[in-house]
């Protein structure tokens, strides 16, 4: 029996979890390679560690959090 195991998970109100090795290109065209087995990509765009999540979404009002 195969169990569903997505490469990307959209977390409600939070980041996108990304499994495996990837490069994220930022708006300036700079590529940021993943460094850990699972990475959290910021979706609220307020992280101080872009493109990675640093938990900042948790202090935003609900309407500013990613759906």
């Amino acid at each position: 029996m195969t169990i569903e195991h997505p490469e990307a998970i959209l977390c409600p109100g939070g980041p996108m979890l990304l499994r495996g090795n990837h490069a994220i290109e930022d708006p300036d065209g700079l590529a940021h390679g993943t460094t850990r087995p699972v990475s959290a990509v910021c979706r609220c765009l307020k992280s101080a560690s872009l493109p990675w999540c640093d938990g900042t979404h948790k202090v935003l009002p609900a309407e500013l959090r990613p759906s």
Partner: protein, 318 residues
């Protein structure tokens, strides 16, 4: 590690018995009279038998029936005390509502004090007493792994693989803390600073090992994990800024910097992958997930208050 300094009649008797390898009945008869500090240090030391060498103590005492009996009495008292502090939340779902619940229930914050006001001496003292957990970070959670079903087990392994450096010892979290301690002029051998640790630190460590060692409490262990991870990223950022303000070594800064991004991943994995899979296996474990999550926040709040009170600081709330 060396045995700690006793904190009362129970630990006097226990440590004497551990060194001599006999007279364990005297340990059992000392249990009812123990003060909270004495009982907590006794349980912490009995738990250490499962993790590491204690100087002068035979290794086979790990599974001595009389010591296990003493451990069971102390663990039962601890669990009863933890459960007595806890009121179950109502009308909430663990996987949907944990993050908002944590935000509403987060207590006194040492990170806020370190960020703005702490002295270098206070941060080094905090580093010494936190070393009781941070030098064995995640070890109690590993006991849970074989007790889980396939999806929860794979999810917890995915998280722990990162905690343990993904195969690279230089990225292993408790080794990062050891490097930070050494760079700060502290002794990073496990247990060096146990005599400085307040009751609240012993209770935090005892609760994690209690949850880890008992299959029955696997829900509490994973609820504790989720709550622990969910209260780490933002405080770790404040720790980084506070340590940089005080000019503490980069290696200690690096430990907290690693936790900003790592725990932003781990908190999501803990809730949406691991705890969700556990609940799919057995929905009855939701109650213990909340109990573990509460216990994590409550014990951290008690620890923060004890340190702030030691330093005569008004409570700082995140």
């Amino acid at each position: 590690m060396d045995l700690p300094t006793p904190r009362g009649a129970l630990t006097e008797t226990l440590f004497g018995a551990l060194r001599s390898g006999d007279d364990f009945f005297a340990v059992l008869s000392s249990l009812p009279e123990a003060t909270p500090d004495d009982a907590a240090l006794a349980l912490w030391t009995l738990h250490q038998l499962h993790y590491r060498d204690l100087t002068g103590v035979p290794e086979d005492l790990e599974w001595d029936p009389q010591l296990l009996r003493a451990r069971a009495v102390l663990e039962r008292d601890l669990e009863q005390r933890l459960r007595a502090r806890y009121t179950p939340p109502s009308g909430v779902s663990f996987t949907d509502d944990l993050f908002d619940w944590v935000a509403e229930h987060d207590g006194a914050s040492l990170a806020t004090h370190v960020h703005r006001d702490a002295t270098r001496e206070q941060v080094l003292e905090l580093t010494r007493v936190r070393s009781i957990y941070h030098l064995m970070e995640s070890d109690p959670t590993v006991w849970v792994l074989p007790r889980l079903g396939v999806r929860a087990k794979a999810g917890l392994m995915e998280l722990l693989y990162d905690e343990y450096g993904a195969g690279n010892p230089n990225r292993l979290h408790h080794h990062l803390f050891a490097r930070g301690m050494e760079a700060s002029g502290l002794d990073a051998s496990y247990g060096t600073y146990i005599d400085e640790a307040p009751l609240e630190v012993l209770e935090q460590n005892n609760a994690m090992t209690l949850f880890g060692l008992h299959r029955r409490l696997r829900g509490a262990a994973l609820g504790h994990l989720a709550s622990f991870e969910a209260t780490s990223s933002l405080p770790s950022r404040r720790m980084v800024q506070g340590l940089e303000r005080l000019g503490l070594p980069q290696e200690l800064v690096d430990y907290y910097a690693e936790h900003i991004e790592a725990d932003a991943v781990h908190e999501q994995l803990a809730v949406h992958v691991i705890c969700q899979a556990l609940l799919d296996e057995d929905p009855r474990l939701e109650a213990d997930l909340w109990f573990g999550a509460f216990t994590c926040l409550d014990l951290e709040d008690r620890f923060a208050r004890s340190m702030l009170s030691r330093w005569e600081i008004e409570e700082a709330v995140a």
